[in-house]
Subunit: 112 residues, 10 copies
């Protein structure tokens, strides 16, 4: 797996929010093998570490040819990112393009 | 009736929200027999079970040729879905296209 | 006056919201006699009775050739509808098209 | 009937377009007696006369309580306005709010 | 089949356009039996006859439970309407909601 | 100065909000003498008196050729209007068009 | 009157379009003395001279306290600008905010 | 390679347009190996054959893990589809998400 | 460094908000040297001093050719502005254009 | 100066359009030294050569700290790009953010 990289929070004395929106996320449906397309919004309050943007991009790219359900991918991204940077707060929102006439959205949160 | 199917919540240790938006809902007006068109937004926090998306789609399709009022269909969907997956929280919002110069919207919530 | 009709709330065991948006409301300005155009948004939580949609439409139509100020019509609609269906909560919002370079909006609420 | 007024075209040596958009037009459906709501867009190239804006507004107001079909009102406005100002070119477009799930639009043109 | 009704063109001395947009069209996919949802835009220049709006609505409703492809339904509506009102010009555009990640649109025209 | 006029609140037994949005406000920059353009949103809960709309319009017009800063004009409008109608609550928001690549917005509130 | 300034067209060997959109134009209604607000779009193909942007801005500012009709101001701007820079082609479009429920737009063109 | 399938044009006596918009197209940049995301709009006038929608979807999916430039993929899709259904007219438009601060779009057309 | 200038708060007796939105902010990426583009929204409640708008603009311009990360620039602007005007409350939000398929946003707040 | 690079047109047998939109263009005003921000839209029909996207980006970056007028930069980009790739057709459109209350746009075209 791609190594998610971090760097030292340059302003740890203050609670502030960092948001990264990736509207080019794609994975595969584990049932049909067909691609799913989504937008992943990551919001967090860093503690000692911030997530390095380029490694985050490569981390997301690893899902491109992997079969995984909406609920699962959202929670797994949250778990992976929490483990890597131990934030004060973190939230992952995934919004998916229409499948079978339905749009889905999953919202998972972590509080330190 | 179509059997609404469920699957085990893969991340039950955390409260997280699942949202499914169906903007192709249609039923019949019980008075005139004419079709109504709406968007059904389902939002819930799963407990042990998640609702399987394809069976949800087929469940919605059963209303296509059924006469039922706005207030009734919204609450009935909420009741049916609560019964099937026993969520920690659930909310059903229906938004209807214009009839007689008026748009209607019904919002019903369930708290475990 | 048109009789506002009601029907029995089919789900009285639950607090849920009903919203009807009429964007074709028109009345007359009592000063100039010129027409005003607005959108009336009715939101309420029914208790024992729901407002019948068609009679609501005819109720609104009665203002078409009546001279009445923005503040007055908004509160009067609220009073009339509360009297007829005794809701747990009700809110009437009127939004008016531009007159003299100004848009106006009136928001009145009732709590049982 | 309200007298549509005109004033002398201040720049008759040049073909130029004048457009007046009224998005507060309302008349009655001759079948049901219920109100119709529309936007009337008037576009013309004046010859010797321009249409006075205030009298145009009062002219439109006369349709408020008159029963008339979409096709008819559009052509009649065109005929009335052509007669009054003898333009080099004129066009009337009416766009109507939803009735029975359908939006209608009528486009009529006159070339001198 | 519902009888499409017509009425005499009240202004036959002039070429003018009539447009009716129905954004609540639904039929069935002949392969899967699942519903398709679309918007049908009808544009025509009437000759001696105009299409009566209410009968048009009922005509569209007949497709609700009929299996028919996009290309077919668009051309068939054009053929049926041309036969009924013999217009100087007619155009039918169907725009369909997403199926398999794709939006489709069909445009068919008739010139007398 | 134009006299701001008031009329008796027709429904003083209830807290309700009145909003007037004027998107044609203009004053002058006291430094450069160049015009500023803004939208003034007035929101208030009337007590015994409501502000008469036409006199409000004329009150705003007095700023057309007056040099005054964003912060100042917003608070002064609030002070003037509070003094005239003694509301239960009042709020003035001014939003300004781009100057030097920047949009500004000032929000001032009064609580009785 | 402000002197409209010009500078030498740096690329006279080619026909190219220059467009300047001023959405902060204001003048006075000659009848009521009340302010009108509009957007002036100037489009031209320069010949030997281009219009200097800052002097154009000051030229527009001169209308701020002048009473003039829509039709007149549009053609007069066109005449003034043509006289000053002798363009190969020029077009002035004015679009006005709502007065009496109507938006107006005037389009005047000049061809060398 | 996936076989692109066709079916007999049900209305060959008339020129009509078929449009399929796929906003979930993705391929790889041949230089960096990173994914590109785009919308492919196919427009054509069928002659004897129409393109079957499901096989078109599978055809597009074959580009998911293939390195190919914008200009190339657009022309190649056009060539492949022309070869398969021999249309009277065909057009392929590809619109790409931002790369290096730039959006790209390629438009290729075929006339029989 | 440009001197950030202030002026006396003309209405210090009241808590009110001042917002300045600069959508033309640009700095350089410290890694690649390539430009970043963003919108900086400054919101504050002044105490004794307000920030002078022109000097704020020149302050922002100093970042044009400086290499600095998103997280850093946002917090540094907040620190600089707090130091200069000692507000009761201040908030800086930076929103950045797409880099590597991702939009970023940083939100930092100061409470006196 | 950055060398604008080209590559061989992979489909020279057909006229097709290539469009690259850069909404992060910035240069300096030669009068004030203040930055200008714009969107540059390049559209062309390649002959033997296509413009390489990355070198185009670096070419645009060279204007970042250069003083140049709107009319000049637009025509100069067109001249530079024509010289490098000898297209069958080329068009450069620049659209600029508000300065002094005005948006400007320049459109220059080249036909081989």
């Amino acid at each position: 797996m791609t190594k998610l990289e971090t760097f030292d929070n340059p302003h740890p004395y203050r609670d502030y929010e960092i948001i990264h929106i990736n509207n080019e996320f794609t994975s595969l449906c584990p049932k049909t093998g067909l691609p799913d397309f989504g937008t992943i919004t990551l919001k967090y309050i860093p503690d000692k570490l911030c997530i390095e943007l380029k490694s985050l991009k490569y981390y997301y790219l690893e899902y491109r040819n992997r079969g995984i359900f909406y609920e699962d991918v959202t929670n797994q991204i949250l778990n992976d990112l929490v483990e890597v940077c131990h934030p004060r707060y973190m939230e992952v929102v995934s919004e998916w393009s229409i499948r079978g006439g339905m749009n889905s959205k999953i919202i998972a949160k972590y509080q330190a």
